[in-house]
């Protein structure tokens, strides 16, 4: 409708092509705005803006990157409206990563486990326990900020590895190292604070 038949763009965007990315955009917005309605608004605005400026879009391959670029502006608008700029620093701060430290504790100098991972008994049963989620959240929040951002973009928002690299400016190699460390840390944290805690003690805490 926006383009007459004679002037078809090389990559014509359809509503369906935009809508495909709605969920990823929503999660991205939700993590930053921490409010369903604000996140939904930002996504709506983004899709509308994308639709209206679809002639500016250069290539099909980068559609999500392009949409996220627009979404960031909409999120920033939302913050300005709320005068909550403080939150930006939450997600965007750079840390001096001490990621190496945990690997040195987990592995011996020859690269083998110091105390290898234990077997977890029926881990999915934990999903029904409120306290498990509190511990998961604490473990996730205790990751160094940049590591947490990479992990969240991949596993919570659902971006592909390559997209996370574009978002964070990490090289391919650094991405793999960062995700490896994040998984080692989360695993260790969950084991210490949840799965290694004797069952009776957990039940007591729930009584």
């Amino acid at each position: 409708m926006l383009l007459s038949d004679g002037t078809k763009a090389l990559y014509q965007l359809t509503e369906a092509m935009l809508a495909e990315h709605r969920l990823v955009l929503f999660r991205y917005a939700l993590l930053q705005l921490k409010d369903n309605e604000l996140a939904e608004d930002a996504v709506q605005e983004t899709l509308l803006a994308a639709w209206q400026s679809s002639s500016e879009f250069q290539g099909k391959a980068g559609i999500r990157t392009w949409l996220i670029g627009i979404l960031k502006h909409k999120i920033a608008d939302s913050w300005r409206r709320l005068a909550r700029e403080v939150i930006t620093s939450d997600f965007d701060q750079i840390d001096n990563d001490d990621g190496e430290a945990i690997e040195d504790e987990l592995f011996m100098s020859n690269g083998h486990w110091n105390n290898g991972p234990n077997t977890w008994n029926d881990p999915e049963a934990s999903f029904n326990q409120m306290e498990f989620w509190a511990i998961y959240e604490t473990c996730q929040n205790n990751l160094p900020p940049k590591m947490a951002k990479v992990f969240m973009l991949r596993e919570l928002v659902g971006l592909e590895a390559g997209e996370v690299c574009l978002e964070t400016g990490l090289s391919d190699a650094n991405y793999w190292v960062t995700m490896h460390r994040a998984r080692l840390r989360l695993r260790e944290c969950l084991e210490i604070h949840w799965f290694n805690v004797p069952k009776t003690k957990k039940e007591k805490r729930h009584a």
Binding site: R27, L30, L31, L33, K34, D35, N36, E37, A39, E103, F107, N110, G111, H112, W113, G116, P117, N118, T119, W120, P123, E124, F127, W133, Y136, E137, Q140, F151, R154, E155, L156, A161, W176, V177, M179, H180, R183, L184, L186, R187, L190, E191
Partner: protein, 66 residues
């Protein structure tokens, strides 16, 4: 032989992209003798599932209170 540190790095990478045949074989051989690395793989997958569930919960938590 590759160390547990190397193997867990490969396992982690394997969650995000398809590994080469050589890498996959290295992991399978290692798993025969190392329960720690086997557990790491199972638990990394569990953590992914947990992260997805956690995201679903956030939506409920961040809805406006009446």
């Amino acid at each position: 032989m590759r160390s547990c540190r190397d193997i867990t790095a490969l396992v982690s990478k394997g969650l995000d992209k398809k590994l080469s045949l050589r890498e996959r074989l290295a992991i399978r051989w290692h798993f025969i003798i190392c329960s720690g690395c086997r557990n790491f793989q199972v638990q990394s997958r569990f953590i992914r599932k947990t992260a997805h569930r956690y995201t679903d919960q956030l939506q409920n938590r961040y809805s406006k209170k009446p």
